[in-house]
Symmetry: C2
């Protein structure tokens, strides 16, 4: 049975939590008595459906069921995870926690999205203080993996382990704080920059667009992948961090910052900032900016994925964890084409019209080839042994289009396996609609010499087994064709003759 | 003749400048009397050659010539741009500027990479104060586009315009400050975060790895594309920045920051930070970290490029500016295949072995198809008119491998153009080595109905003109083949029959 989350408060943060849980297959009960909650959450969910599933290269679980509730008790009863995302008012939060703890399971986790309060503040007077933890996410919650977890001393090891597991299951990176402080970690850093930025505007040194440019054309790109200390470690050269601190430590004493004071948010300063922001971003609506931001984040995250680094490494781990279908050839029926792919079309695979671009079809087919190869024993150990298959030749037919977020499946028929060669035929489906096919000639190679060589015995056996079974399948429509020509009737015989 | 840059000081920053100028086709004279300068600069240049050219989808100019000089005068004489990247000592910089101005052209720009000094500090006592500007880049200089420009009042409009043009030419994003302050803009923001981060370590709240995670799994991803204010604008919802300031302004007064003081860099704190950094990153050498960072940045930048946003938009503008070869069919000889691509293999196109991955061949071929289509009149206006060509079918042969940074060229032969169809054959070369070929069947479509339709008259004329000329070319080896079979001798006749 699907796990269930209760989302208390359906604003930008609560809605984002709802979307993340739902798309990871959880059922979600949402409590928000505001008139706008349903519309807002559905809008976010729409954005999330386009952006989130394509982060992984495997299909996510079936989307869970979303329901809206006017009664808090109804929403939280029986939930595995209860997430509070209400306004930052301590009295309000405490009152709601009391009502939640009166009806919820003792085993449930109660997370608070608070940006600033400590768990000891939140749990004052609570029936079970150890059940309430800070679980502070970052907007957009359905894309950014970081969740700061701050637990009070009463939270036992077992519950901490459960929290870690649950966060991983929904694709998050939990960061456990060693001790509680106001504003946790990230918001401390953000607040420092925010103050300095307000001073720069207030003093007329730069406007909002210039400050944003100073970030996104420069250190923002560094921070997306390495953060602060690892970046500075490189700047220190081979002597690393000690050298850097010796070299740049003195600058801390220089007058590089006005942070000894807080700028007064006068009406005038508010107006200055708001007008500059209009000039900078006003040509896009907030809804546009959300979509632009999501597409950018998907592109950045998937970029980091190709490097298996940071947030991208986390996504790759998710692929391995969530890969569906039989893991081994022995567990598979060979009576039909083999399932070799199930995924969503990522946002950054689409053109300005929202359609999947040409080479991304081959990327998805290439992943299917990799999956097929793993099934026949060409796995990491085999590669480490210095052998692999290369693609020598490819024939793709585009039969339909696919849009961002579309769920695609791929199956694979082995047309031929002889000596160093194997010929496969992939079909890509969106539901029952055939979107594209790809025929490949694979050649087994020695990775050292980069030359053709015979596969290992186990791989040969697997290929022979599949080839024997697939010999009974009808030849797929389109196999053996050259560009612009139907396949010859005698194509198969000629190819083998 | 190539423009010339003089780089004064060959450390991490000076070496990065040298690499950027060189790879953009400038000759570079480097002045550094240190024993290690040559080795260090050549090491950086090697990294830059792998990482930088692939940021763009066109080939960069031929790399300029690099020479090392022990005499400052020899290095700077006749240079168009002189960039000083010496240690942060005002007396040293002033003395060097005096020696530079004694011999350099008056029209040359003298830029200082200083992180903190104001131009009025730098130019005190200078012969021509208006010639010396702050041009503050970010490490790695050959990848990050931001350069903060701070000019003294004496710098005239014409020179500012020249600076803007030169920076754009070498792929940088110049950010002109309205007035001088210590540490410009970016380093103010960095310094604020740096202080807060040091406090977090000093107080034992988090270690260096946790702080980096708090950045790179969360707001660092946001900042790489939108910076601070545009991100918060979204958080404010439809009411934008005014709403955000009203909602979150009060938090400025909360105890979220300890920035009212500077942490003392005691030996103990230095040791704590350095050990934590070793635990976090010590398994990678600095050289490894540099390569990892560069590959991550290339992936992020190219990701933003697919979205035509921020630093990625800048790169796309560079593509348009630097595209080589004839822009129109009229200016081209039709006696051979048409040049339709010249580019470097980007780092993020390669697998863990450093070889270009399968689908990236099709990406490069797809770009060549786009270039071919623009030549026959399928440009932005034509697309806006609701018509285009789609790829219906593709046949790729992999004949060799290509590594990151390799310069590839593509040429295109038109095999057939009839009614709604056009058949093209691309060849991909690394120098004289044929790396791959791609044959495509293109179908002209109405973008509204997504159905085949006849091309416009001008496009038909262009196709007919090329087809007539290319009919005299020999049929390319490999054209008309199906996977696993040589093309039939009569293939062409059959295709047309």
């Amino acid at each position: 049975m699907a796990k269930r989350a209760a989302i208390v408060g359906g604003g930008v943060i609560g809605g984002g939590w709802a979307a993340r849980f739902l798309l990871m297959g959880w059922d979600v009960r949402l409590y928000d008595t505001g008139p706008d909650a349903r519309r807002r959450v559905e809008h976010m969910l729409e954005n999330a459906r386009a952006a989130m599933p394509g982060l992984w290269d495997v299909a996510l679980p079936e989307e869970g069921r979303l329901s809206f509730h006017d009664e808090l008790a109804e929403a939280v009863k029986g939930a595995d995870w209860i997430q509070e995302s209400l306004p930052e008012r301590l009295d309000l939060k405490r009152e709601v926690f009391a009502r939640i703890q009166a009806v919820c399971d003792e085993s449930a986790v109660i997370g608070s999205s608070t940006s600033g309060f400590r768990p000891s503040d939140l749990a004052e007077g609570a029936a079970r203080p150890g059940q309430i933890v800070v679980a502070h996410p970052f907007n957009p919650v359905y894309l950014l993996p970081l969740v700061e977890i701050v637990a009070p001393p009463e939270t036992g090891e077992a519950r901490l382990e459960l929290i870690r597991r649950r966060m991983r299951e929904i694709g998050c990176q939990p960061l456990f704080l060693r001790r509680e402080i106001d504003a946790h970690i990230a918001d401390r850093l953000l607040e420092a920059v925010w103050r300095e930025a307000l001073w720069l505007v207030s003093d007329g040194v730069a406007d909002t667009a210039e400050i944003d440019d100073a970030i996104r054309y420069g250190f923002g790109l560094r921070w997306a992948q390495m953060g602060l200390f690892e970046t500075y470690r490189i700047a220190g050269g081979e002597a690393g961090m000690r050298q850097f601190l010796t070299q740049f430590g003195p600058a801390l004493k220089w007058p590089w910052s006005k942070l000894t004071d807080v700028p007064e948010l006068t009406d005038e300063l508010v107006e200055t900032i708001a007008s500059q922001s209009d000039a900078q971003s006003g040509r896009h609506s907030i809804a546009d900016l959300e979509r632009i931001r999501d597409a950018n984040l998907v592109a950045i995250l998937r970029g980091l994925k190709t490097r298996d680094w940071g947030a991208g490494r986390l996504l790759n781990a998710g692929d391995r964890r969530m890969a569906q279908g039989p893991k081994s050839l022995e567990a598979m029926a060979l009576t039909g084409p083999l399932p070799t792919g199930a995924r969503a079309v990522p946002l950054d695979w689409t053109d300005y019209n929202g359609h999947m671009t040409e080479h991304r079809y081959l990327q998805a087919f290439g992943d299917a080839t990799d999956r097929f190869l793993r099934l026949i024993g060409v796995d990491e150990d085999y590669l480490a042994g210095g052998q692999s298959f290369f693609t020598a030749e490819t024939h793709i037919r585009h039969l339909g289009e696919a849009r961002a977020g579309a769920r695609l499946t791929i199956d694979t028929q082995l047309l031929m396996a002889e000596g160093r060669k194997a010929q496969v035929f992939h079909r890509m489906w969106e539901d029952a609609r055939l979107v594209a096919t790809a025929e490949h000639m694979l050649v087994h190679v020695d990775l050292e010499s980069r030359r053709a060589a015979a596969p290992g015995a186990k791989v040969q056996d697997c290929l022979a087994k599949i080839a024997k079974a697939h010999a009974h399948l009808p030849r797929p429509e389109g196999a053996g064709a050259a560009v612009g020509r139907k396949p010859d009737r005698g194509a198969k015989d000629k190819a083998e003759g």
